[in-house]
Subunit: 450 residues, 2 copies
């Protein structure tokens, strides 16, 4: 007898948690579609060679092998060996190249799928989780304004979820690189790697690291630290940077982009976006704006939505496809929502009405009532047995089904089992209150969140 | 440079195909929820021991291995070795056992997920595909009426899809077993295996097989063949069986169940369900009703939706969980819909309105229009560049976006680019025709299918 057991790192929800997850996924999809993003899905597997293009992530890949291959030579032939995708960016890049001839650019897509990472589960890391990505990709060129648009789409998407407010922190590769070059700090990537540790090792550790690892002079290290300390929500950020005295064309471009983003955000999503020049994560592969998102009051969760601008998502040798994209870690976010009780469903089943069965000979009568209700979009179920009505009501109550319907020879009646109110009703015209028709997701105070 | 290429057996759709797929998945979900089925998802992986419980399917399993395990001892330790699920029944059985204490029975669930089978792709078989399952599972008992209800839910779900009508063929294990036992044919499973080949090897081949492989006398073989030739849509099916002269308690029960199912179907889903007593596939593990579904005019596709009654979906040693379930092979069905052009979307992007940009300095004006439209649930996008209006209109046209919006200092105008009609409009109140708001799926004649 195989004993079932949960597998660490592979989360599953009970039906009530799934109602919340489905609500989250529906809300994300709706926002993305309102903004004109087309939904796509890619296969779960990619050739290993495709997955290893970035090299460093190789340790996270799950490889696949057919059971009957057992014993066959299984050295990884990267051309044929398949692995599960560990994000949605690598498959999307491959998909764009494969289908470029049939797409109209700029192409905006959203993609909500499971991804897998073969890491040892720890610190709440999942081995299987859902990501929700949006990207816009151009053919050879892609205007800067998408670097403003995409984080604001995500701000709107996240605002529609049953979660606390978010803060989107932004930086721009051009600002950091332009500044470092202006002060003569040549190892830009090295400097960014050290700056990324600021929260962990503090300013003195970073200064030492910049000198030891990135070849900075003590003065350059001090200036880089001053840059990293700057934050703000408007054009004053640029003034603070310029006050440090360094100038370069790249720095000017970067500051202009950063301020444009901040000003648009102040109008279209006030209070959400803040420039934070110590953000370095991702600056080594993004080429313009970068984004990180924290949940206010849950900063220990880390970034729940990250991304940035890349000048080459993919290239087929003739054309290059630049893009801007962000990705929400849905499962980790949802795990926090459920574990902290930030939101819950009004019920775990879709059913709004349980139709009682008087006796088994008359089950068809109850079936007809349910059919009439469903035909008008009211989720209905029929009692499993013609037990005493008290037992049938308890069946509904245990599932938080709000209404029980009693077919009768002299006319039907429907009972709101919460209030006990019972009244005559006709299956061809009766309507439940709008808030009872489908399960809703409510916050911990019981207020509707959507 | 890694050349992208499609992988045989791993289907992917372009955005227009995905609109049709999403429409299908939405329609299935809606029907299942109207009938009170709760949606769940299970992890993609199961321990190999769980996947191999049925033994015979072992050849289809994809095993997982982390890349950094490479070179480690990799004989399959069935306790730790993980494989991708090849259906949704095995994971559901495990999930029910694992969560039985927190579920209310009978428990009705639907589950729409990808599954994987490591077969060599051939005859249009997929290695990755989507299944849509419904099951009801009881604790220790489950009333017969669910064997009537579940195929009718599927009939309703399939009727809501952009596909031709379906025929659900049904049989009942009790009829076959009861009949065979009544005529003294003892090797019931053996006989069912032979009968299953009727379409392939014909009646003479089956008669020989029943004698050679199932130990039947020539007379028993002839009677079994007569049983298998019976079909019909009402109680006459039982009369035909009884006219063969054999009687047993099990046979009577089976015929009563079969007729009950047919009569309910004639009322609730007329013209859909037919009894076909030569159906043997699945009778070796189902214990009551079995179902197969063909698409009228596309019988060569095989069964698109199958299932049946099982007395033990799972057991924890104390409780046994009987169930009734059916599963739709969504990807195979969808591949046929797309390849035969049975349905297509009115457009491949969600966008109903493209807001033109007069010049880049006024992009924010266009952003505000789009925001106002989206706030009222109208999918809107903003033109990528402030090109000449003719070029912006072509951008919309290439994506079948029906409306282009022109912001103006003296008031805005909106153009239906199909008719060329242009009229003044206000972003706070203008409404597109209902059929243009979201992409719709239409049949090959252009008529709305939903």
């Amino acid at each position: 007898m195989v004993r079932p057991s949960s597998l660490s790192g592979f989360p599953e929800w009970l039906p009530d948690g799934r109602v919340v997850e489905q609500h989250v996924l529906d809300a994300l999809r709706r926002t993305f579609e309102l903004h004109g993003f087309a939904g796509i899905e890619t296969r779960a597997v990619e050739p290993l060679a495709q997955l290893l293009r970035k090299g460093e992530t190789s340790k996270e890949v799950y490889l696949l092998r057919r059971l009957q291959e057992e014993g066959e030579q299984d050295t990884a032939d990267a051309d044929k060996q398949l692995g599960l995708h560990f994000d949605l960016t690598v498959p999307f890049a491959r998909w764009v190249l494969e289908n470029a001839g049939q797409l109209a650019f700029p192409f905006k897509r959203y993609q909500i799928q499971k991804v897998w990472r073969g890491e040892r589960p720890q610190d709440g890391r999942f081995r299987e989780f859902t990501q929700a990505d949006i990207d816009v990709v151009g053919a050879d060129t892609l205007p800067f304004h998408y670097e403003v648009e995409l984080p604001l789409v995500m701000a709107e998407a996240l605002a529609a979820l049953p979660i606390p407010p978010v803060r989107i922190s932004v930086n721009n590769r051009k600002v950091a690189q332009g500044f470092y070059e202006a002060i003569g700090l040549e190892d830009v990537e090295g400097a960014l790697r050290v700056i990324d540790k600021l929260d962990k090792i503090g300013p003195e550790g970073v200064a030492r690291g910049l000198i030891d690892e990135a070849g900075a002079t003590p003065d350059q290290a001090a200036q880089a630290l001053e840059l990293a300390s700057i934050s703000g929500t408007d054009a004053s950020v640029a003034d603070q940077v310029l006050a440090l005295g360094a100038r370069s064309e790249l720095l000017d471009t970067g500051l202009q982009e950063l301020v444009t983003l901040l000003e648009a955000a102040r109008e279209l999503s006030p209070g959400t976006v803040v420039a934070d020049l110590k953000i370095a994560r991702g600056l080594d592969y993004y080429t313009g704006s970068v984004y990180e998102t924290t949940l206010v009051g849950h900063e220990n969760l880390g970034s729940i939505c990250s991304g940035g601008r890349y000048d080459s998502l993919a290239s087929d040798g003739k054309r290059t496809f630049p893009g801007v994209g962000l990705s929400i870690g849905v499962s980790r976010l949802l795990a926090r929502v459920l574990s902290d009780g930030l939101a819950e469903p009004t019920r775990a089943v879709p059913t709004a009405v349980l139709v009682a069965v008087t006796d088994e000979e008359h089950r068809r009568t109850s079936d007809r009532v349910a059919k009439a209700l469903r035909a008008r979009g009211i989720p209905a179920d029929v009692a499993p047995t013609a037990a005493k009505f008290g037992k049938q009501i308890r069946y509904a109550d245990r599932r938080s089904i709000p209404f029980v319907w009693f077919p009768g020879e002299d006319g039907d009646e429907v009972k709101d089992i919460r209030s006990g109110d019972q009244a005559p009703a006709d299956a061809g015209s009766w309507e439940p209150p709008a808030e009872d028709r489908w399960p809703r997701v409510v916050d911990s105070q019981g207020a509707g969140v959507r």
